[in-house]
């Protein structure tokens, strides 16, 4: 295995501290050494993966996100940038979706409306009917 490296060598070549590399391995960002124990070694694939992680970080990705993507989760780098949504499960048969990145003021307004809706749907039908008559 001519291209095998120790952790110290991998750290030096990638310019990533050894502690950080161990942390990445624990988080599932990077595979462990190809051999365990005294002769633990790392390969060019490890180095390539570290470079890839650095690139993704430079693009603004978090480690959690990178781990998610590299381990086969759906790519976040899709044609349309993702946006967060709130899922309000109001009843078993009613779900309301609200965009998560609207302004706080708008969010307050929506939240009040959703609360009101949830409260009305929880009430017995008779009280809704009474309210509608008023």
């Amino acid at each position: 295995m001519s291209h095998s490296k120790t952790l110290a060598e991998l750290s030096e070549e990638s310019r990533i501290p050894a502690r950080t590399i161990r942390f990445y391995i624990a988080r599932g960002l990077l595979d462990g050494p190809v051999k365990a124990g005294r002769g633990a070694v790392y390969t060019a694939e490890h180095l390539a993966r570290l470079e890839k992680i650095k690139d993704l970080q430079a693009e603004g990705r978090m480690l959690a996100e990178i781990a998610h993507d590299l381990n086969g989760g759906p790519s976040v780098q899709t044609a349309v940038p993702p946006s967060p949504w709130w899922q309000h499960v109001i009843q078993d048969d009613v779900i309301v979706w609200v965009r998560g990145d609207v302004s706080p003021w708008r969010m307050k307004q929506i939240r009040a409306a959703v609360d009101d809706m949830a409260s009305r749907l929880r009430e017995p039908e008779s009280s809704n009917a009474r309210r509608n008559r008023k």
Partner: protein, 808 residues
């Protein structure tokens, strides 16, 4: 099942055992008025079947430095070595590759520390006893000791956050500023995390009057009047807030703690109360109040801060000028220039404050630069009300130093940014206080504001042996601390001089080891000061380049002189044992921390599970939500406050704690709905039948303070009704212990007295009453009476005053 496993904490939601890599953090040591010398025990107990490496992150308290650590376990004990950081990291990694138990304590920017313990064997227990030196927040009549048991997330414009599990968030700070520092995960519920506790001794030269804690239930045992033992009243607590201990002296006078250090030199720390320097001038003030309205201030802190500002403005006269700035990641100004402290502008300020709500990030530097503009380069003071939850403080400190104005800080938070705010104030010639959100933020603001803009002394000079140099200004209520060398005999004089005054203090060496402690405290203070001047770009530069840095060289020299760690020098220990397995890769574990109590999880991490179970946030495409803080994470406003779980619910209330008397009066705060609070006795309750029954005496005093007119009197229809209202207001303040020299409302009392003195040609019996009340104000007393209730009841009250005052 082992005993340990049978008592392992469980995750409430799943019932699964929590595999903690650090089980216990215990604080011991000695707290002096000059600072504290602490030992923090970290117990790592592995329940794993594999070797682990554990990383624990913590913030340093104010003026703190790590001295050394001892690591113990079955059959071994080792001591740390202080090495230049690169050498320490190298030693740690070499130890790791040999399979040896290795420990590294390394400091990063913003006073953050990673304590890393590697190669803990399966089922092994290892304890790291870390010695820490730190400062305290001094007041003339006592001091506040604050120790962080958790690490709060803090705003950075380039920080990224993610929710990685229900109620668990993760944050990453930019590597170009923070290097390879690893932050913990933040758990909304701290009850399943490691235990924390403390047992401390408090020692003072002056008699100890009261010791109390607004943060924890404590047991206090006084030992002979000048020392005491303070311990957590319960068996254990959770890591979701700082430990805050308040100590009050029986008298206010200078103290000099002196003794010999290990090298035989005489060392001292002198604490000189502000009252030794004289009284504040009545010069007109030019002051800008800067209000942090970032998302993390939402709820009670912002509401209290608004009230506090109105009460502060109440003390201004027409000759004073003020400005108001609110900031998050945007800046909002009250007026484009400073305005006079007239009723008209104060009313307008009231309307302005009503629009200020908590939202957005914490762009503190932008806020104060706007405040600096308002002062137009003509000097003045800025009072900042903030939780200080901000990262990348080096740049902010540099901007503040170059701005050339005095910054005074009132910090509000359960988890400390005390170190940063103390530096911000000190480096600009101001003072700082840090309160917990469960105290009276408004009263603390009023107390701090009383001294803003009116130092009691300036141009302070001391002998050459004093390091660091004394502050340029002294403010009422805040003493000066001086560290120095007393020479070989251990006895000398401290010669202090300032514009218009001079003071000599004798130094008498004692036989105790206090000399060594004050020497180390001096070192930790100097290192903290220099750390704050270290630009991030320089701090992370390669060694060769860093050697050219003035700050790096100074820090290195200080670390070597005092044998204390800094960013240039770290602590490391490697324990070689039989059975070490070279090359074996341990599994890295990062110790999670609890979200700071009173901090809304959603203010930093977008995912939020609402009470009532009506909603949960998840993106349609993935279960992971990430965000750049500046854009989104702080946009939650008060939206998520309804879901704030009180993670301290399992902790005991401190009913059993000794009364903190005046501390509690000054720093108590009203109960917020849905929160458990410490039971603070209300000094005076307005009768239950009245609409304002929930108001405390302090609430009423704040209301009075904010209604004062710019001539110092209370408003009224005519001169006589104004005189009556002012007399009653003055008696209300006096009855609660506030005089023109003492208490949070001392400035207000002074203004009320001035107004009454300016009154002439009142009817003779009213004039007689006014004169008698002025006399009482000078004596600092009020006769028995329902002054608080009367102050809040419309109408003239000459009869009630006459009956009590003239018969007193």
């Amino acid at each position: 099942m082992s005993t340990a496993a049978s008592f392992a904490p469980l995750v409430a939601a799943t019932g699964k055992a929590v595999n903690l890599s650090m089980q216990r953090l215990w604080l011991t040591g000695q707290v002096l008025p000059a600072g504290a010398r602490l030992v923090v025990q970290h117990l790592f107990q592995s329940e794993e079947d594999k070797t682990i490496e554990v990383i624990y992150s913590f913030p340093l308290p104010r003026d703190a430095a790590l001295r050394r650590f001892r690591i113990t376990g079955e059959g071994f004990e080792a001591h740390s070595e202080l090495k230049e950081t690169e050498a320490a990291v190298k030693a740690y990694e070499e130890g790791m590759s040999r399979g040896s138990l290795s420990t590294l304590a390394r400091q990063y920017g913003d006073g953050l520390v990673n304590l890393t313990v590697g190669n803990i064997r399966p089922k092994e227990t290892v304890t790291v006893h870390l010695e820490v030196l730190c400062g305290v927040e001094l007041r003339d009549d006592g001091f506040r000791f604050r120790f962080p048991f958790t690490l709060a997330p803090a705003y950075h414009s380039r920080a990224k956050t993610a929710v990685t599990a229900p109620a668990e968030g993760e944050m990453e700070l930019p590597a170009d500023e923070f290097g390879d520092m690893i932050l913990p995960r933040f758990r909304e519920d701290a009850s399943v995390l490691h235990q924390v506790g403390f047992e401390l001794s408090i020692v003072s030269q002056l008699g100890l009057d009261e010791i109390g804690s607004p943060s924890h239930a404590v047991r206090v045992r006084q030992d002979g009047g000048r020392s005491a033992r303070v311990a957590l009243a319960d068996e254990k607590d959770v890591p979701n807030r700082d430990l805050v201990l308040d100590t009050r002296f029986k008298s206010v006078e200078p103290q000099v703690l002196a003794g010999r250090s290990k090298d035989g030199s005489g060392r001292f720390a002198a604490i000189v109360p502000s009252s030794s320097f004289g009284v504040a001038t009545e010069a007109p003030r030019r002051v800008v109040i800067l209000l942090d309205r970032s998302g993390s201030m939402q709820g009670e802190p912002i509401s209290q801060a608004r009230k506090a500002i109105e009460a502060c403005l109440g003390v201004l006269s027409e000759t004073d000028s003020f400005g108001l700035v609110a900031f998050d990641n945007e800046v909002l100004r009250f007026q484009p220039v400073l305005v006079s402290g007239t009723r008209e502008f104060r009313d307008k300020a009231h309307e302005f404050l009503k629009q200020v709500d908590a939202r957005g990030g914490t762009e503190l530097a932008r806020g104060f630069l706007e405040a600096v503009k308002l002062l137009e380069g003509r000097g003045g003071d800025i009072l900042i009300l903030t939780d200080g939850q901000v990262s990348g403080t080096g740049k902010i400190l540099a901007d503040a130093r170059s701005a050339g104005v005095r910054l005074h800080c009132l910090g509000i938070g359960s988890a400390s940014q005390d170190r940063f705010l103390a530096l911000l104030a000190r480096e600009t010639g101001g003072v700082s206080r840090f309160v917990t959100p469960r105290e009276r933020v408004d009263l603390s603001a009023v107390d701090l504001f009383a001294s803003v803009g009116r130092p009691v002394a300036s141009g302070l000079k001391a002998g050459a042996s004093i390091q660091p140099e004394p502050p340029s200004f002294v403010y009422s209520g805040t003493p000066v601390i001086l560290f120095g060398e007393a020479g070989e005999t251990g006895e000398s004089q401290i010669e202090l001089s300032w514009h218009g005054g001079r003071l000599n203090l004798p130094v008498k060496s004692s036989e105790s080891d206090i000399g060594e402690t004050v020497w180390l405290l001096q070192g930790s203070r100097l290192i903290t000061d220099w750390e704050s001047r270290y630009p991030s770009s320089e701090a992370l530069a390669p060694l060769e380049k860093r050697k050219q840095s003035r700050v790096a060289s100074r820090l290195l020299a200080l670390s070597q002189t005092y044998r204390l760690a800094s960013r240039e020098m770290s602590l490391v220990a490697v324990v070689t044992r039989p059975g070490d397995r070279p090359g074996e890769l341990p599994e890295t574990r990062v110790v999670p921390v609890g979200m700071a109590q009173d901090t809304v999880f959603g203010a930093y991490f977008l995912n939020q599970t609402f009470t009532g179970g009506i909603s949960a946030m998840c993106p349609p495409a993935a279960s992971l939500v990430t965000s750049v803080m500046a854009e989104r994470a702080f946009a939650m406003d008060s939206f998520s406050s309804a879901s704030t779980a009180d993670s301290s619910a399992s902790t005991a209330e401190p009913e059993g704690a000794p009364s903190a008397g005046l501390f509690q009066k000054l720093f108590s705060r009203p109960k917020a709905p849905g929160k458990r609070h410490q039971q603070v006795p209300r000094a005076v309750e307005v009768s239950a039948g009245k609409a304002r029954s929930s108001q405390t005496a302090e609430d009423i005093l704040l209301d009075l303070a904010s209604r004062m007119d710019s001539d110092g009197g209370m408003p009224g229809k005519n001169r006589e009704s104004r005189a009556s209202a002012t007399v009653i207001a003055l008696l209300a303040f006096l009855s609660q212990g506030h005089t023109d020299t003492r208490g949070a409302f001392r400035s207000h009392v002074g203004r009320l007295v001035s107004f009454l003195k300016s009154l002439t040609s009142l009817p003779s019996h009213q004039q007689q009453i006014v004169d008698a009340v002025i006399e009482l104000a000078y004596r600092g007393t009020a006769p028995a009476g329902e002054w608080i209730t009367l102050a809040h009841t419309p109408g003239n009250h000459w009869y009630e005053v006459e009956r009590s005052v003239l018969n007193a």
